[in-house]
């Protein structure tokens, strides 16, 4: 008993940095977010209790809040499935080719290393509405030029395009590693049973990959709802205009939250927004985990 106690005491010494981190940088701020969300708080003065007023304002009065929700949903619903699909397609193609795999892998992965500031500025240049590279390409193809980030219609697709350029490489590498792990014996067994290539892919390869797809989907979803840097830089104009892109079409959730909290010093309101996003993401995570029971296959997965 005393030995066990001593072992535990020593182990807690080892995990103490992490316990402190959990308490100071996770548990406390989480609880404080909930508390601040029920207050009016400008940092200069101590938080003043106002009950649910922040939430009432958010849901009933703040039209920009709903616009931000819409912009973020639009961005996520298009961008995340596209990222997953393109990554899976590229990984599948690479899995079947032996030549040049190193070159392709590098080409697809390099953009994800580029700092977000550089990425955003670079794409603002490429998507310049007058004579950017993208519009030059469209004109060569005989298509009409687009306004890209200067158009309320095309600004969100512009952000999605950037997210694809940055966000495909990483899941592609992960999917590729998963595909390479498909046990040869299962494929041979399927062939003996008369499965053609298409059937082997959909009935053997993809089901074995579903745990990996599931994990990446979840991580990408959570990150996508909190997209910030690209939209922030793309909408920070030198002219001091207050709209986030044309007609606020690039006002994503985090940009709105940042403006409320750090530009207008409404920390209470920003905390309320943080709490709403947090609860929405918890709910979404639970839904995705629940749905996974019907499409993620764990049994028969190869031990690693």
């Amino acid at each position: 008993m005393s030995r066990r106690l001593r072992d535990t005491a020593r182990a807690y010494l080892f995990v103490s940095p992490w316990l402190i981190s959990l308490a100071v940088f996770t548990a406390y701020p989480m609880l404080a977010s909930f508390y601040f969300s029920l207050t009016r708080y400008t940092v200069i003065q101590p938080p003043a209790w106002i009950g649910l007023e922040n939430f009432q304002v958010m849901f009933a009065k703040d039209e920009l809040f709903w616009l931000a929700v819409w912009n973020t949903l639009y961005y996520t619903v298009v961008s995340v499935p596209l990222q997953m699909l393109v990554a899976l397609l590229l990984a599948t193609l690479l899995n079947h080719s032996t030549r040049g795999i190193g070159f392709y892998r590098t080409a697809f992965y390099l953009p994800s290393l580029v700092p977000a500031v550089v990425t955003t500025l670079l794409w603002m240049l490429i998507l310049d509405p007058r004579a950017g590279l993208a519009n030059a390409a469209l004109e060569t193809l005989g298509l009409p030029k687009l306004g890209w980030m200067h158009s309320a219609t095309w600004s969100k697709p512009s952000l999605i395009l950037i997210s694809l350029w940055v966000g495909v490489g990483q899941p592609m590498l992960i999917f590729l590693a998963g595909l390479k792990d498909t046990p040869q014996s299962l494929l041979e067994a399927a062939t003996i049973d008369g499965a053609n290539r298409w059937q082997r892919y959909w009935r053997v390869v993809i089901p074995l990959l579903t745990p990996t797809i599931f994990f990446n989907l979840l991580i990408t979803l959570i990150a996508s709802f909190q997209v910030f840097t690209t939209a922030f830089i793309a909408t920070a104009t030198a002219t001091g205009a207050t709209a986030a892109g044309p007609l606020n079409s690039m006002l994503v959730y985090m940009v709105h939250l940042y403006r409320q909290g750090f530009r207008y010093a409404s920390m209470g309101y920003a905390s309320a927004m943080a709490v709403v996003l947090f609860l929405a993401l918890v709910l979404l995570t639970l839904l995705v985990v629940r749905s996974s029971r019907s499409w993620v296959h764990y049994e028969g997965a190869p031990p690693r």
Partner: protein, 278 residues
């Protein structure tokens, strides 16, 4: 059948090359714009190679008072190096406890650790800021760096998985010889998980190098800016000088690309490790 045997690889390579070009052209555009004169940047048709490369764009950028290169470099390296040392050391110590020590509440604590991997950062953002503000640390690097010294869920998880692959006999034998846990960790475990330590270090270094929101929130004095905010500030001064902006942008991107080519094995291994085990 024979036809299919060679048309398929050809089609698949054609598709791969097309997509690879789409991924690489923006990087080429970054490079090429940075050596163009101003009037050759936004043109239709596009100019793929400038008639007279302007290498002095780099000189202009690196000596521009609005882009104090060495100061930005010093700040960025400080942030990257110190935070990386902090997270590697603290995460290794915590991971060792999860991998090798028996203690009450270990499995529960590990489950909590995994759960925090999914925790959206937004829910801790504001109170953490307020906390550092009350301590009078906003405007310094402390809010950006201190948290790294208290381990991170992801790094703990990654290092623990690696440590679990080391045969228990090795550390048991050392314990029998009277070695303390710290010595076992330092002399036996850490040398064996070096590849994992390098992966953690690389990814953390790059994360800090690219971090934008952290410095945006916590740093107000431009003499303390790292590259990310420095480039952002530079751009707001020289909004339309795309050649100078891309020269500055390439300067802060090139070290990462060079690091990738030098340490490619660790990058691929690292990314793969992060995603396969859910």
């Amino acid at each position: 059948m024979n036809l299919r045997r060679w048309t398929e690889p050809v089609l698949s390579h054609l598709l791969l090359i097309a997509v690879a070009l789409l991924f690489l052209i923006p990087l080429w555009w970054l490079l090429i714009t940075s050596i163009k004169p101003l009037d050759q940047i936004l043109t239709i048709p596009p100019i793929w190679w400038p008639h007279s490369p302007q290498w002095q764009n780099y000189l202009d950028t690196l000596t521009a008072p609005a882009f104090p290169f060495w100061q930005l470099m010093g700040n960025t390296l400080f942030y990257c190096v110190v935070s990386t040392i902090g997270t590697v050391v603290s995460s290794a110590v915590v991971a060792y406890a999860f991998a090798r020590m028996r203690f009450v509440g270990r499995d529960l604590l590990f489950a909590i650790t995994l759960a925090t991997l999914l925790l959206p950062g937004v829910v801790t953002l504001i109170p953490t800021y307020v906390l550092f503000q009350r301590m009078g640390l906003v405007g310094t690097y402390a809010p950006l760096i201190v948290p790294y010294f208290f381990a991170s869920a992801f790094n703990i998880f990654l290092l623990r998985q690696f440590m679990l692959t080391i045969p228990v006999e090795l550390s048991d034998a050392a314990h029998v010889d009277g070695a303390s846990d710290f010595r076992v960790l330092w002399q036996i475990i850490l040398p064996l998980v070096k590849p994992a330590l390098i992966v953690v270090a690389i990814f953390n270094f790059i994360y800090a190098w690219n971090d934008f929101l952290g410095p945006l929130l916590y740093l107000d004095d431009s003499s303390r800016y790292p590259f990310s905010i420095g480039l952002y500030a530079f751009r707001s001064r020289f909004a339309l000088q795309w050649n100078l902006i891309t020269a500055a942008a390439l300067t802060i991107t090139a070290p990462l690309i060079a690091a990738f080519f030098a340490l490619q094995r660790y990058f691929i291994e690292g990314v793969t490790l992060t995603g396969v085990k859910g």
